[in-house]
Amino acid sequence: MLVLLASLLLVGVTSLLLGAGDVGPLDAWSVLTGGGSDEARFVVESLRLPRTLIGVAVGMALGVAGSLIQAVARNPLAEPGLLGVSAGSALAVAIALVLGASAATLRISVAQLGALAGCLFVLTMARVNGVGNDPVRLVLAGAILSGLLGALTSLLLLVDQRSADEIRFWVIGSLAGRRLEDLRAILPSLLFAGVLIVAIARPLAALALGERVAVGLGHHPRWIRLLCVIAVAVLVGAATAVAGPIAFVGLVVPFVARALAGPDIRRTLWLTLPLGPIMILSADILARLLVAPSEMPLGVITALVGAPVLIAVVRAHRLPAL
């Protein structure tokens, strides 16, 4: 845990030091130690700092959401991006924009509603003909669903040029140009989800032992699942509203956390808190540096890291049961 926190600190500072502009690491460092030119101070404090903080928030939200949805679906491959939850909230935001909305706070609640709808849809689908019993089949269904929702989003953007210009960069997932107000807007949702998770962590751990065990221990599996789905939707909706749909973070982070701490969700949830931001921030630094003067979408980097992990999990001879 200490090592993880230290590396999170390291990545965070690196994210403040490195960037695409003229302000080099040394200038930025002098700002951090209290000196520095005005230009460097502006770049670090009003561009890189909000970006880094938002990266931390988004990373935590996506990592925790991944852990939760894997526990609910009892499926090591479940992931908000892969299952179509992020695509659902992107579509909801697109619909709202086409209908004429544009307020930032509205965007967050709409994105959360969309995430909830996507989540419920895919979990309902999992009950049809035992799709949920086969982890790989559920992922396939989710991939199809997110393909469908993505196509619908593109269709809407074609229809309405104005909203297309407004969200074109948002819809591919990126941390660029976000302000501190965005972070403040999602903070209540994150706190709400945090309280919810503290309340259901223990029952969730019991649920991992099986439905009957959980009932025997005095828990109500249906309620736990519902609350868990709500928490996932709140987290994913908030993260998507700020940073756009970013896939594969919720797959890789719980995977690493389980490898470090074993299957108990009460322990892995703690580990995902630093792991998510580490992944998002490193991906964001790469996204800034790889194509130096311009930037690339964050989702590209996470896909390049995450897809091989997906393949590795699928190829494991026995899928680790959750």
Binding site: L140, L158, E295, G299, I301, A303, A307, L310
Partner: protein, 357 residues
């Protein structure tokens, strides 16, 4: 008249064509239903094509459109039909047929109904390499050979990774989805690295559209399709047997491995050439064979019918995309995704699934 089988009546529901060539006699059985299905599909394809020639910003009557095809009639409508719509129609028919035939071949050889090049990441590999060719990275070959190289790379990776999980189950498919995601990300990476104009030139490849077809790639595709159809006809008997276990096919005297490799090569090449023309519209490769399968009897693998229904789906989807939001054109890839995804879900969710093709 000493044909050995002259007196044998053909099985019910089929015709026998027999002829003598030199010393030897040849005969083939033609299934009556397959004949009717193919003729029906051909008629439907002609009807859809005629519609696609008639409708658009400038609406023509069928008579005017046909006159335009043969070069007489009003010069304006002749220009629209010959220069714009006819080329587009040719691209639509060829890509649809190629995607669908390629999907049908791969489904059969992998014995997996969901294993089409679009789903297991081969289209994305071809797209990534074609985009690399357009944005001028490294050795700049024309898009078609680059697409072939990309498809071959993606196929090699997917099938190598599937080596110990087999091609039958869902694990193969999800492995392919992962490979496809990597290539999709590479495409984005390439697009982000170049100037905006170059990126715009490469954009159609990433969504799938018949708008920016270029002549050379279309010629490549038609040649490939002609060869592919001939090989497919030659293979159709073997494909029918490949649905059984390898031991059965081998016992009946087929060289299973050779058949499979030939089918794989044809399938991958067709998908790649079609991607070079229209971008990844891979869901056609799933819808086309499924329509053909519903229409045909269960005895055969209907390769020709698959190609025809794929062409119909592609032309119809392009027509819908052009007309739906009239001044704006919806890329055909989006139309097929919206139509095809519910269909895929149905395949996945229906009760008592039989995933053999």
């Amino acid at each position: 008249m000493n044909r050995p089988d002259a007196g044998v009546t053909p099985p019910p529901g089929s015709w026998r064509l027999s002829w003598a060539l030199g010393e030897r006699d040849y005969s083939i059985l033609i299934e009556r239903r397959a004949c009717f299905v193919c003729l029906g599909l051909l008629a439907a394809l002609l009807a859809v094509s005629l519609l696609s020639l008639c409708l658009g910003t400038l609406t023509l009557s069928p008579r005017e459109a046909l006159a335009g095809v043969f070069g007489y009639g009003d010069p304006v409508s002749a220009f629209v039909v010959q220069e714009l719509r006819l080329v587009r129609l040719a691209a639509g028919v060829a890509t649809g047929a190629a995607f669908s035939l390629s999907g049908c071949l791969m489904q059969t050889l992998a014995r997996n109904r969901l294993a089409t090049p679009g789903i297991v990441g081969i289209d994305n590999g071809a797209t990534a390499f074609a985009v690399a060719s357009v944005v001028g990275l490294g050795t700049s070959l024309a898009p078609p050979p680059m697409a072939l190289a990309g498809a071959a790379t993606a196929t090699a990776i997917t099938f190598a990774l599937a080596n110990d999980v087999g091609t039958r189950g869902y694990r193969f498919i999800v492995t392919g989805i992962g490979v496809g995601a990597v290539f999709g990300a590479l495409t984005q990476l390439l697009m982000a690295r170049v100037a905006i104009d170059t990126a715009n030139a490469a954009y159609p490849w990433t969504v799938g559209s018949l708008n920016a077809r270029d002549g050379a790639a279309l010629v490549w595709l038609w040649c490939g399709l002609a060869i592919g159809l001939v090989v497919a006809c030659y293979l159709s008997r073997a494909m029918r047997i490949l649905r059984f276990s390898d031991a059965v096919a081998q016992g009946l005297g087929y060289r299973v491995r050779a058949c499979r490799y030939t089918a794989l090569v044809v399938s991958v090449a067709l998908a790649a050439l079609a991607v070079a023309v229209a971008g990844p519209v891979g869901l056609v490769g799933l819808i086309g064979p499924e329509i053909a399968r519903q229409l045909s009897s269960h005895r055969g693998v209907s390769l020709i019918a698959s190609a025809l229904s794929g062409a119909i789906v592609m032309v119809a989807a392009d027509l819908v995309g052009r007309l739906l939001l009239a001044p704006i054109e919806v890329p055909v890839g989006i139309v097929t995704a919206i139509v095809g995804a519910p269909f895929l879900l149905w395949i996945l969710l229906r009760p008592a699934p039989r995933f053999q093709s």
